[in-house]
């Protein structure tokens, strides 16, 4: 991959207020955004932002609401004038350009896609897409043929004469994308372009953007407040906080080497559900048989649940003793042996925080399901092959399996554990020999099991569970930390 610098920001600062020089001197004294706002009633939009974007790269700008993402993006085509600093596009400083030069750059080099589509309601799809060409004075025939090609490239062929009001959200954003592409710009600016779409359509659009990127090789600057989206799309990600860039790196770097507590919180808060550990893929251990029961009980349970092996536990605390196979149980019944003797005591067991990539080889080798056991020997859950496959299908769809260090399970709230279990709940395919099912109610309490309690909140298909996971993951991010007014009101 060639690493031509397409766009470079040098010390970009933006102050919203009446007396920017004063704010800049306060910034130099080291005051924070909120202190400055208290003191001067001026808002620091951006504070000394520096980065480079390479040719053909998808660069994602991420951060909480009010962190300055939109402001930064709008500085790149000077929809917002930066207070200080330089913006170089192909080595040319656009902050020094006069109105005409700026117009030319906007017409030919930079396209923009908006969060709420921003289509012109009085125009058809075709005339919306042709807008950028129209204002360049390109004759009708030529601009329509270019616009049609752009419409086709976003999969809207046949809709060119539709009215905007007849389109669904996803189609509208395709028109928005086509409009930006029609000018054939080198750089695409996208401000939360998919945020207004519902999760499934959104995921489709992300896929299509990636496919498009493969075909046309644009440099894309994509603003998002959603880590999942950023991880999926970004070649590199810049994380913003209070108008400053706190970290720039590849998705892996952001996940595994967070620069400071802000980033790691960001990553944790969003990614908790996606972090794959033994605990997050295990399922509820049911049925279980008590070590004090006879073989007859064990056989009956296995029969009822249609399974060929059962875990043997002791006491209320579900202390794991071993695993009993149906063959051994039948023999024990004949010979009158106790469960303790008949069972296989060294069943494979793993700690709840073992990363999934270490779980995989174990489950591949083992002929039994894996038992997830905590420090005190309590059986928390079981992992069958199907569960892992389901979890991998989800994470594979998101493009990453490698995960950062997981915290101790004790530090998680039960709510989180619940959701972690829930998202990766998986119903094993028939072919796989499995040991437990969710339905049966066996006489042990599951309040303290720490695993999902299986009351109708199960998403059985591991492949689909990606969407709800994203939806919930987004929620904590929207809490506005900003003190100033919303920027989007008009």
């Amino acid at each position: 991959m060639d690493k031509n610098i397409k766009l470079e920001l040098r010390n970009i600062t933006k102050i919203f207020g009446k007396n920017p020089p004063k704010v800049i001197s306060l910034l130099n004294e080291g005051l924070s955004k909120s202190e400055i706002f208290k003191k001067t009633k001026q808002t620091v939009g951006l504070n000394n932002v520096n980065f480079k974007v390479y040719d053909g790269e998808i660069f994602v700008i991420m951060g909480l609401s009010g962190s300055g993402k939109s402001t930064l993006l709008r500085c790149l085509n000077r929809l917002i004038e930066p207070t200080a600093g330089k913006i170089l596009i192909d080595g040319q400083d656009i902050t020094q350009m006069n109105a005409k030069e700026l117009r030319d750059i906007r017409r030919t080099k930079i396209g923009m896609v908006f969060q709420n589509f921003a289509l012109l309601p009085h125009r058809t799809v075709l005339d919306n897409v042709a807008y950028g060409l129209e204002i360049q004075g390109i004759p009708k025939e030529k601009r329509y043929s270019k616009a049609l090609a752009a419409i086709e490239s976003v999969g809207l062929k046949g809709y060119e004469h539709s009215k905007i009001t007849q389109l669904s959200g996803g189609m509208k954003q395709r028109v928005g994308l086509a409009r930006a592409l029609a000018n054939n710009p080198d750089i695409l600016l996208m401000d939360e372009a998919f945020s207004a779409l519902d999760p499934l359509i959104r995921s489709d659009m992300q896929d299509e953007l990636l496919a498009l990127e493969d075909r046309v090789q644009k440099t894309i600057i994509f603003v998002s407040h959603d880590l999942d989206e950023a991880l999926k799309l970004g070649d590199r990600i810049a994380l913003m906080k209070d108008g400053e860039v706190v970290q720039i790196g590849t998705p892996e770097e952001i996940l595994t080497e967070p620069a400071d507590s802000y980033v790691s919180k960001f990553v944790e808060g969003v990614d908790r559900s996606k972090v794959l550990t033994a605990e997050s893929v295990m399922k509820r251990p049911e049925p279980l048989v008590s070590i004090n029961s006879g073989p007859r009980v064990a056989i009956q349970l296995m029969k009822n649940h249609g399974i060929s092996s059962i875990y043997v536990v002791e006491g209320k605390n579900r202390h794991l003793k071993g695993i009993l196979m149906i063959g051994d149980a039948l023999e024990a019944l004949k010979t009158g042996k106790s469960l303790e003797v008949a069972m296989f005591p060294d069943s494979p067991r793993v700690a709840p925080d073992l990363p999934l990539n270490e779980v995989i080889p174990l489950i591949a080798e083992s002929q039994y399901p894996l038992a997830v056991v905590n420090d005190s020997g309590k059986l928390l859950g079981i992992i069958v092959r199907g569960t892992v496959l389901g979890a991998l299908a989800v994470s594979g769809e998101n493009g990453r399996t490698e995960t950062p260090e997981e915290k101790n399970p004790e530090e998680k709230t039960s709510e989180e554990r619940k959701s972690a279990g829930k998202f990766f709940e998986y119903k094993p395919p028939e072919k796989i020999v499995f040991i437990g099912k969710n339905k049966g109610e066996v006489g042990h309490s599951s309040e303290d099991s720490g695993v999902t309690d299986g009351k109708g909140d199960i998403i059985n298909d591991g492949i689909d569970s990606g969407a709800p996971a994203k939806a919930t993951a987004k929620v904590p991010l929207r809490s506005d930390s900003g003190s100033g007014q919303e920027a989007k009101t008009c």
């Binding site: 929809l79 117009r103 017409r107 396209g111 923009m112 921003a118 204002i135």
Partner: protein, 276 residues
């Protein structure tokens, strides 16, 4: 304590004398031009005799209303009634006055509305003026017009233009200010010039609101043209006034009915012309 009488009337008289002394020629010229506009339009409207005019205007409203049979039938019937009441010529004179006044009000008002949407300083000057104008009863406008232009159609038209302009300014300004910020950003982000932004994005998006202003402007023009009969404007208003003075109920009522017909016609047509 004795407070001397403040010479309000004298001052005004002095000011008027001064203006007439210095701008008399200009006022006369404008007066002539406006008279020409009104009589020209009136002659144009009277060019076709009613037997042709009525089918013509019905057909026009049929297409203006997007093939609306009811609108066309109503128009035909209304204008037929006017002709039948022998008020044709007076009605056309009133219509000519309304249209030329409204046209002038829009030609001034819409650009002023656009400018005040673009320029906050201008907006802060224009807005209180509009608010003030709205508080005044309509016939107050007749006094300055009368002073500078005497009696007749022209002062009536001037008063009408002033009276009917505020909604055109107000709603144009509002419409442009209400254009969503993302849409103006689109215009800028794709490299539009100021004029392209206005003509291809702002005005089309604001058009429904602007057309509401046009509608109000025309309706106010009609009401003012009728009231302006008090300073010698000819047409249906004068007929109503005549009927009142002579206590001729039938005559006053017929002229009033003709006014109502024209009002409804103008209202419907402008409403159908505005996009939704």
């Amino acid at each position: 304590m004795l407070i001397p009488r403040i010479p309000v009337g004298d001052t005004v008289e002095f000011a008027v004398d001064w203006i007439e002394g210095n701008f008399g020629l200009f006022l006369d010229l404008t007066s002539k031009q406006l008279d020409l506009l009104i009589s020209g339009l009136k002659d144009a409207l009277l060019f076709l005799p009613p037997e042709f005019f009525i089918p013509g205007i019905s057909l026009l409203s049929y297409f203006a209303g997007k093939r609306n049979i009811k609108l066309a039938a109503g128009t035909a019937f209304g204008f037929f009634l006017i002709e039948n009441m022998e008020l044709w010529e007076l009605s056309m004179e009133t219509l000519a006055l309304v249209l030329s006044s409204a046209l002038l009000a829009l030609i001034i008002g819409i650009p002023l509305g656009i400018l005040s949407a673009k320029n906050n300083i201008l907006f802060h000057v224009v807005k209180p003026a509009l608010d003030f104008m709205q508080t005044m009863p309509s016939f107050v406008y007749l006094i300055p017009a009368l002073i500078f232009f005497g009696l007749g159609n022209v002062p009536g038209m001037i008063a009408t233009v002033v009276f009917a302009m505020p909604p055109a300014i107000r709603l144009t300004n509002l419409g442009i200010r209400q254009v969503p910020k993302e849409l103006t950003e689109v215009a800028d982000a794709f490299g539009s010039t100021g004029w392209q932004k206005l003509s291809k994005v702002e005005l089309p998006v604001a058009l429904p609101t602007i057309m509401a202003g046009v509608n109000q402007c025309i309706m106010l023009s009609l009401s003012m043209v009728v009231v302006a009969a008090m300073i010698g404007v000819r047409g249906l208003g004068y007929q109503v006034l005549f009927g009142i003075q002579r206590v001729d109920i039938g005559m006053g009522f017929e002229a009033g009915l003709a006014i109502v017909i024209i009002a409804i016609f103008l209202d419907r047509i402008t409403q159908y012309l505005s996009p939704r």
